[in-house]
């Protein structure tokens, strides 16, 4: 689905279904440097099981025009505008990594719209190391390498991919190679600079689900503990085999956790 937000092209994958006002809606928000297709299996499932699906490409990512947005708050507002454009009054928001912060901030800013939020591969604060930020600022290949290697469990480069015939490292690197210069850095700065997590958690009224990879090197599960405590009423699912890229590394476990929470 292609539309215009603030005069710029904005895209969301809808699993080949039109928006039906009678259906519940799930918005999927990707992580730093990625796009809607990162949700392939999960978004497709919900689109074919009675939900409106909007797996968005944030500005500057995938099919949405740039520039990339500088803060998590701006991203949350952009998701709201997307929903407004489609006249959607209520939606669950599922976010991965950077997208999880967007989901959290969205729910705090728009409590009347946020039905439920799922935070996948999250941590708060989501601090990014200087070496990673510096490399991303220089658009250096090493930034893509860090995102790829730290973005998966240690066993991933040598272990089998649940998706037959695919190599997760190669897929991540190919996605990052398509990014416009500076987009990854803008995303990482947004994650690093987001300071509203505890305030948002305190305001949160809707149900919240954490889905965490036990082998996550980028946002280790302990990094989500304070946020979970602050939200109080949240639930957590830990996926033993997965690193940060839960949708690719453990697609069924991630989908099952989402079905249990959203369906």
């Amino acid at each position: 689905m292609q539309l215009q937000i603030n005069g710029k092209a904005a895209f969301a994958y809808t699993a080949a279904h039109d928006i039906d006002p009678a259906k519940r809606t799930v918005a999927f928000v990707h992580g730093a440097g990625l796009d809607h297709s990162w949700w392939g299996l999960q978004s497709r499932y919900f689109g074919y099981h009675g939900f409106n699906v909007l797996a968005v490409d944030l500005p500057g990512h995938g099919r949405s025009a740039g520039p990339a947005l500088a803060t998590i708050g701006e991203m949350a507002d952009w998701v709201k505008k997307f929903l407004d454009e489609k006249k959607i009054k209520s939606a669950s928001v599922v976010g991965h990594s950077m997208g999880s912060l967007v989901a959290l901030e969205f729910a705090a800013r728009y409590p009347a719209i946020a039905e439920r939020i799922a935070l996948i591969g999250t941590a708060y604060p989501m601090k990014v190391g200087d070496a990673f930020l510096d490399a991303a600022q220089r658009n250096d290949q090493s930034a893509f390498d860090m995102e790829t290697i730290w973005g998966h469990a240690p066993q991933v480069p040598l272990a089998g991919n649940p998706n037959p015939g695919m190599w997760m490292y190669g897929d991540t690197l190919a996605r990052l190679a398509r990014l416009a210069p500076g987009v990854l850095h803008t995303d990482l700065v947004a994650c690093n600079g987001y300071g509203g997590g505890m305030e948002a958690a305190a305001k949160l009224k809707c149900p919240a689900q954490f889905i965490l990879g036990a082998r996550d090197m980028m946002t280790p599960p302990r990094g989500a503990e304070e946020l979970m405590k602050a939200i109080g009423h949240s639930k957590a699912a830990r996926v033993a085999i997965s690193g940060h890229s839960l949708m690719a590394e453990a697609p069924d476990a991630t989908l099952d956790a989402l079905i249990a929470f959203l369906a």
Partner: protein, 432 residues
């Protein structure tokens, strides 16, 4: 601070793609000799068919043993993924059939394996896909041959049998300027000698029958995608960027981005054309890949010794090996193939066709057969075998003369190989 590191080639060759079997703990890759897979329930079945869950349905589309081979090759080549096929030719056909319809056009190097030349020059033509063959040594010919309906540029990393070195950086630049991908046949180089994606190629395939297996016991192929070609931006591939009624009205690029090509190739190509790899074949090829990094240096080392011997032999008229300074692509080879130019090369015997025949028949260690890349040394006369359907003009374009002999240097003692060649050359000269 040192950044994180990727596993090295040798480690990937031994491990990539395999999760140790959680039930048995089997260290070797199990051979899943099964056609199909029991669904957990009807909902699970429906989810697999509609691509909402990952997994296997039917072994023509995917199989756990074959998937290890595919992922390992993708890892070694640095691609997003791979599809194993029944042969190298099936891989080439799968690439073409996925990207093109009747009315499409290919620009291909004239220095191709005879089977590939047949497929493009004759067979695909019957289905409305035309090919213009150009000299791989004149990259401008690629540019000039491109038409509005061109959808692919194609060549071999090392041409068969003259070892023309494809200038991948230049040809890929020409392809990308025209909004089309570059596909290369990387059979002769393997990922140990060259990484075509790092040079600019978008797609590659291997006849895995050759060096990847190395044992000469299994026919197979593999098609690997770099995931770097932007089909949407090109605008020339509705096969990947428009809803396809033949598969749930799926827009493959929208659905999967970097995986669009492989998604259609698997879900349509393997489903409909059916040229899949058998699990036993995948297992056999994996045994070969595990020692690829050990075998290739030895192949190259022995080849250099044999080439050095032939260079000094008075019965030899011409040697086509890019490491030799007189090869037309010597400088390019030094740049693109720093680890060596492989173990297949050709030479011309003085005395033409008859001398060539006698030479081949006098060999004892070399096996006269239609294959390359075996652990055992091989020999063939291209003009009467692998390239026999080509016209004299096309043979000349491909650098093949009546006395051209192609050798594939194996892993035997190099001194035994040289002795065998020396004796056979003497026989050939006596006849003359």
């Amino acid at each position: 601070m040192a950044g994180p590191k990727y596993p090295g080639f040798d480690t990937l060759a031994l491990h990539a793609g395999q999760s140790v079997d959680p039930v048995t703990g089997a260290r070797a890759v199990p051979i899943y000799q099964t056609t199909s897979y029991v669904f957990r329930d009807t909902a699970h079945a429906a989810s697999l068919f509609n691509m909402e869950r990952a997994g296997h349905v039917y072994s023509r589309i995917s199989n756990p043993t074959v998937a290890v081979f595919e992922e390992r090759m993708a890892a070694l080549e640095g691609g997003v993924g791979a599809i194993a096929t029944a042969s190298g030719q099936a891989a080439l056909h799968l690439a073409i059939a996925t990207l093109m319809d009747a009315g499409s056009h290919v620009v291909a190097s004239a220095a191709l394996y005879g089977g590939s030349h047949n497929l493009l020059g004759y067979t695909m033509k019957r289905f409305g896909i035309d090919t213009t063959f150009v000299s791989p040594r004149n990259t401008d010919e690629f540019r000039k041959a491109i038409k509005p309906n061109t959808r692919l540029l194609f060549g071999e990393t090392l041409g068969n049998p003259g070892l023309d070195v494809l200038d991948i950086p230049q040809v890929s630049e020409i392809a990308h300027a025209a909004g089309v991908p570059l596909l290369v046949d990387a059979t002769f180089t393997t990922p140990w000698l060259m990484k075509p994606f790092e040079l600019g190629a978008d797609l590659l395939y291997h006849s895995a029958t050759k060096f990847l297996g190395g044992h000469g016991i299994a026919i197979g192929g593999v098609l690997v995608d770099s995931g770097r070609f932007d089909w949407e931006k090109s605008g020339k591939f509705p096969q990947l960027t428009a809803p396809y009624a033949g598969f749930h009205n799926m827009d493959f690029e929208e659905e999967s981005g970097t995986r669009a090509f492989l998604l259609r190739a698997r879900r349509e190509g393997l489903r409909d054309f059916g040229a899949c790899m058998a699990p036993m074949t995948a297992f056999q090829l994996l045994q070969g890949i595990e020692t690829l990094h050990l075998r290739m240096p030895r192949h190259v080392e022995s080849t250099r010794k044999v080439v050095a011997f032939l260079s000094k032999n008075s019965s030899v008229e011409r040697i086509l090996y890019p490491e030799n300074p007189d090869h037309p692509d010597h400088a390019l080879a030094k740049k693109l193939l720093p680890r060596g130019c492989g173990a297949v090369f050709s030479f011309d015997i003085k005395g033409g066709r008859e001398a060539g025949r006698k030479f081949i028949e006098a060999l004892r260690v070399f096996s006269h057969l239609a294959n390359v890349g075996d652990a055992k040394s091989l020999v063939i006369h291209p003009a009467t075998t692998t390239h026999y359907r080509m016209s004299d003009e096309d043979l000349k374009k491909a650098g093949i003369g009546p006395g051209t002999v192609r050798l594939s240097i194996g892993l035997e003692d190099a001194e035994d190989l040289i002795q065998d060649l020396e004796r056979a050359l003497a026989v050939a000269v006596r006849v003359k």
